[in-house]
Symmetry: C2
Subunit: 200 residues, 2 copies
DNA sequence: GTCTATAATTAGATAGAC
DNA sequence: GTCTATCTAATTATAGAC
């Protein structure tokens, strides 16, 4: 009974952690749906079931909230690592399937949030660019030793961005409703060809 | 000297046409850069060098301005028609090259505006979806007579959306700086394979 | 930590003079 | 057609009680 707000020793999780988490979840959902400017901290607070002032208490200001929402330090590294552990063989299908399964799972994928958002001109797009470069392009290019490794990896970025936008942002048919297996087979082959196929 | 504001017979172009055009140009640029909610009509008016009230005079409200900015009736039909006139042979390269040349020309492409915008949930994305369905998917699928025609056309949508987003929205390297010829060759082959290649 | 004000700013939209 | 002035509503952000 003396543990619920004791400052030094957390009785549960310092008692504000779950509120903070709910705010983050709500922020990811709304930023993804309505973009940065289209999302109000009031709406986030309402969605999270807390007071608007709490959001500022936790994250300082709206930009801080956004930064926390799209921060993906140690977000999906387990799945991503598994993609590259198998080497080049069959990597096309693995990368497509991983992307699909992660985004279908409706864990708010930073990819979708960043694609639909953008505070000013630079902030968000730079973030997304760096994320793609670091997490995808860099690791893919490292597996190749051809002189056009960067371009081949870039072609894969086109495939993955296109898939994400077509299926989750624009929701164009029949891509939006296609099964994970179908897309994995078809786009996986394309990705594989971009990486290991003969240059045309 | 009696012609500058005569209502029935336009002496020049009813004298407000160029203002309207400047507003539209400014709107396209700002909507593309900052999205719908991130763009204020005041900013559009300032960019266009007119008074904010003029924007409402011309377009009624902000949504009307947006609708006019992304309206692409008879926008680029000449170029698009040329893609399909040549039949299936080499259509991959033609569609990629046409897209690149049109968007590089920095004519505010509705594709870029719509990709970065989205008033609420539905309005814009529905518009973009319908545009893609009508202008690309439909015409591509019509050229094919395989049972998976729709899926093949959908795969092309993934390629084109991915290219547009990677090169013009996120500007990820080396796609953003690659030459039109390089991209046309590489992605054209992929698109061609998606359409006429053997199903894997 | 959580909530109740409330300050300060800004946005969309309108009325009306010229 | 174009501009000035203004109204209304919503938003970010803060101060402070509990």
């Amino acid at each position: 009974m003396t543990e619920h707000t004791s400052p030094g020793r957390p009785g549960r999780w310092r008692s504000g952690a779950q509120s903070r988490q709910r705010v983050l979840d709500a922020a990811r959902e709304l930023f993804q749906r309505n973009g940065y400017a289209g999302t109000t901290v009031r709406a986030v607070a309402t969605e999270a079931g807390v007071d608007p002032a709490m959001v500022f208490y936790f994250f300082g200001n709206k930009q801080g909230l956004f930064a926390a929402a799209v921060d993906m330090s140690a977000q999906l590294p387990p799945a991503i690592d598994a993609i590259f552990d198998g080497g080049l063989d069959g990597i096309g299908e693995r990368v497509v399937r991983t992307l699909l399964e992660n985004m279908d799972k409706s864990e708010r994928a930073p990819l979708a949030i960043l694609t639909r958002s953008g505070p000013g001109d630079d902030q968000t797009e730079t973030l997304l660019r760096q994320y793609i470069d670091r997490e995808i392009t860099g690791r893919l290019a490292a597996l190749l030793d051809t002189p056009d490794a960067a371009l081949r990896a870039g072609m894969v970025n086109v495939q993955l961005l296109g898939l994400a936008v077509a299926r989750y942002v624009v929701r164009v048919e029949p891509i939006a409703s296609a099964s994970v297996d179908e897309l994995t087979t078809r786009l996986g082959a394309v990705v594989q060809h971009c990486l290991t196929g003969s240059a045309s």
